[in-house]
């Protein structure tokens, strides 16, 4: 009796230990001999807790990337930051805080997370493959000792009862192991599969994101209506190629902006808010491909050869004609101005005329789409061009462009320019302003609209999306599915009937839920076998034992 009990306990212990192991990311080793610390370190690294901490750290480490200007996203903002914080900026630069996502410490977190996940997933996969091949364990002797148990008496022979139980559990997709006096069944292997799927998908996500960093690229281009550009370095404003991307890898498409239109709310509390943007593009996927048309809208990117072209900004480009002091037209075209506020799209920009004679000319301008007089000051009260005016401050001298140092087209280097003595007055389309000292004339000839495009190619995007979905599916699976075991024993009872005992054990999940399923299964089994309540428990226990020790004879009886 005591020996049987001990064996029963052993079975339970094994089950409990299994359950614990299921949730441990790595088998717990207790030995700590030679290399024990190494093993301990590896175990710590591959533990679920470390992985979570690393994931959290990765998120935190990205924060400076959105708070501080980033070299890769907006290099001019970094320069501005240097000017504003001359003492702090070099320190931040040494900590790679202006290129967070390329920083060594960021890479360290990323790689550790990768290692942690890989170290967790691989051993588990092997264990899972092993456990998938294992048969369900032997049924414990005393099913009444299990957390869940039931019993009934049936007129069927023990063999028939077991066969019927096996059929039913098989129908419920339990994996079966049937012996003479018992049936053992296990179900819920998908839990571990889901768990593995989650981890592998997380790994795949990291890999696909790295893929984008190697083979993807990102670019920007400002395009005035009527202009076109090609997807090649010299035709782009900013280009950030992946590590393995060269100019020849850029998709050879060309895009022309035919027309841009924006609609704004004209009344109510949301007045001046944009309603729709529409950029009518024509494009060719290569020099020899036919011309196609596309209406580019916000969140409706144009896709050419897997490269996405997004509409990210828009603005006005007033057009000017500048005649120099010698009476020659030295400039005639649109200049993109940048909006400094959104409700009226008041925009600022500069016009540079480096080839004007006798001196170079520069203008700093404000464009007002819907000019209104607000208490003696000019402003714009609507973003659409209802009453376009441009106001210019004029400069003459040396623009500093001929010495080869690049400068922004949105800024005038005034160090060698002097302001011309002419008060800025708002010009309507067609109006001119004659500069003093015979420096020339500037005419506001009209305006166009411009759009700003973000061009992105990320080969890791689709794999990353799929990995994300797979990770979620795996997570759901591992939460929803429980690993559980059913045991059925049947033995001849004292009065010629068969005593059927049913036991249930839910592995790997302390939370309830299995009780209901177990009760259903037990009830169904009982109904199927037309069972009736069992005799007194004490007798039943004896009967089970008797039955277990006399299996062969009962089987013969059944035949």
């Amino acid at each position: 009796m005591s020996e049987v009990k001990a064996r029963d306990e052993a079975v339970r212990d094994e089950a409990v230990q299994d359950a614990v192991m299921q949730d441990a990311p790595f088998p717990a080793t207790v030995r700590r001999g030679r290399g024990g610390w190494l093993r301990w370190g590896w175990r710590q690294l591959t533990s679920m807790r470390t992985a979570l901490i690393l994931l959290f750290l990765l998120a935190i480490a990205s924060v400076p990337g959105s708070v501080l200007p980033q070299e890769g996203i907006d290099p001019s903002a970094v320069t501005q930051y240097y000017d504003a914080h001359p003492a702090l900026a070099p320190l931040l630069d040494r900590l790679s805080l202006f290129s967070v996502f390329a920083a060594p410490w960021f890479a360290a977190i990323y790689l550790l997370l990768f290692l942690s996940l890989a170290g967790c997933v691989l051993p588990r996969t092997f264990r899972q493959i092993g456990s998938a091949r294992q048969r369900p364990p032997r049924a414990p002797r005393r099913l009444s000792r299990l957390p869940l148990s039931a019993s009934f008496v049936t007129a069927l022979s023990p063999a028939q009862a077991l066969e019927s139980a096996g059929r039913m559990l098989g129908r419920r997709r339990f994996r079966l192991r049937a012996e003479d006096s018992w049936v053992s069944a296990e179900k819920g292997y998908l839990r571990e599969v889901g768990n593995l799927l989650f981890h592998i998908a997380l790994l795949a996500l990291l890999i696909s994101v790295g893929l984008g960093g190697l083979f993807g690229y990102k670019a920007n281009r400002l395009l005035i209506a009527g202009q076109s550009f090609s997807d090649t370095p010299v035709s782009l404003d900013v280009l950030h190629p992946g590590r393995l991307v060269s100019a020849s890898d850029l998709a050879p498409f060309s895009v022309t902006l035919n027309r841009f239109s924006a609609r704004y709310v004209t009344s109510g509390p949301q007045t001046s808010e944009p309603e729709t943007y529409n950029a009518q593009l024509s494009y060719t996927s290569s020099a020899t491909a036919p011309v196609r048309h596309y209406d580019l809208r916000v969140n409706h990117p144009l896709t050419v050869d897997g490269v996405s072209v997004y509409l990210i900004n828009h603005g006005y480009a007033p057009q000017f004609r500048v005649t120099d002091g010698h009476g020659k037209v030295r400039f005639n075209g649109p200049v993109p101005f940048i909006a400094v506020e959104q409700s009226g799209m008041t925009s600022e920009g500069v016009v540079k005329v480096p080839d004007a004679l006798p001196t170079q000319l520069g203008f700093a301008g404000v464009f007002l789409p819907s000019a209104v007089d607000v208490g003696g000051r000019l402003g714009s009260d609507f973003p659409a061009p209802q009453n376009p005016r441009v106001s210019l401050v004029s400069y003459a001298g040396n623009l500093g462009m001929n010495n080869g140092v690049s400068q922004s087209v949105y800024q005038l280097d005034l160090s060698r320019m002097h302001k011309l003595n002419i008060a800025p007055r708002p010009l309507a389309v067609g109006q001119s302003m004659t500069l003093p000292d015979g420096a020339g004339t500037i005419t506001f000839t009209g305006y166009r609209q411009w759009i700003s495009l973000a061009i992105t190619y990320d080969p890791g995007q689709l794999p990353a999306l799929c990995s994300g979905i797979a990770a979620l599916a795996g997570l759901i699976l591992s939460f929803m599915v429980r690993r559980r075991r059913m045991f059925v024993r049947a033995a001849p009872g004292p009065d010629g009937a068969t005593l059927v005992e049913v036991g249930g054990l839910a592995r790997s999940d302390a939370a309830g839920g299995f009780e209901v399923e177990f009760a259903e299964l037990a009830a169904e089994l009982r109904t199927a076998q037309d069972g009736s309540p069992p005799p007194a428990p004490a007798v039943a226990a004896d009967a089970v034992r008797a039955g277990a020790e006399d299996t062969s004879s009962s089987t013969r009886e059944g035949e």
């Binding site: 990765l58 960093g213 090649t232």
Partner: protein
């Protein structure tokens, strides 16, 4: 100071992992995207910053005769309205200069290019400009200022530059390509070229052997 480095000739930063993590921490990426839409960074989208180079350092590459790519037979309309194609120059060494009147480094190298074009004409060297992202009035004014007498093809949309995609693509404005007598690309200079070094390269290509300091005087 690294911040003030020449944007035109600066090697492109390699954003390896930065995009990686951006996608990983989706929330942060979204925040960045929102910040991007609110207006600030548009100031970067300037023709002057278009110069992106895949080559750091001096930016000069010279290709040996056996490993030269055939230049595409580009064609187009010159600033003064004539139709022109590169193969019209077959038999001459062609110096192809990608420029724009708005581009400060182009303005710096322009006097040297103009002089070289005149001085090397007798040696069978022809210059051809590719005017990028420019308007004809400004381009015309530029050519008058620097007394540029060689023609330039108008390439506002970059299609001519795109034609070099599979050979030796121009990586910045300015970029200068030297094409040998058989129509193959023999050298590329990214960024503002200096009179002396460009002259040396051109003569090397024209004579077929490295120029010596003394023997190459025109």
């Amino acid at each position: 100071m690294p911040r003030q480095s020449h944007p035109t000739c600066r090697a492109v930063s390699r954003p390896g992992l930065r995009r990686a993590s951006g996608a990983l921490t989706l929330g942060v990426a979204a925040a960045l995207a929102v910040a991007g839409c609110s207006g600030g960074p548009i100031g970067e989208n300037t023709p002057q910053s278009s110069g992106q180079s895949f080559v750091s350092g001096s930016g000069t590459s010279i290709y040996q005769p056996g490993s030269r790519d055939l230049a595409p037979d580009i064609s187009g309309t010159t600033l003064d309205g004539k139709h022109l194609k590169l193969s019209d120059y077959r038999g001459s060494v062609v110096v192809l200069n990608f420029w724009g009147s708005w581009c400060a480094p182009c303005r710096a190298e322009a006097p040297g290019l103009g002089t070289l074009a005149t001085r090397l004409q007798s040696r069978g060297v022809r210059f051809l400009g590719i005017d990028m992202r420019d308007d004809p009035t400004s381009a015309e004014a530029f050519m008058q200022t620097f007394r540029i007498r060689y023609p330039s093809l108008n390439d506002p949309g970059g299609q001519i530059a795109l034609a070099f995609r599979d050979t030796v693509p121009p990586a910045a404005i300015p970029t200068t390509l030297v094409i040998d007598r058989t129509g193959r690309i023999a050298a590329r200079v990214i960024g503002s070229s200096s009179y002396n070094s460009l002259r040396k390269i051109i003569l090397q290509v024209a004579t077929g052997h490295p120029a010596t300091a003394a023997g190459a005087t025109p």
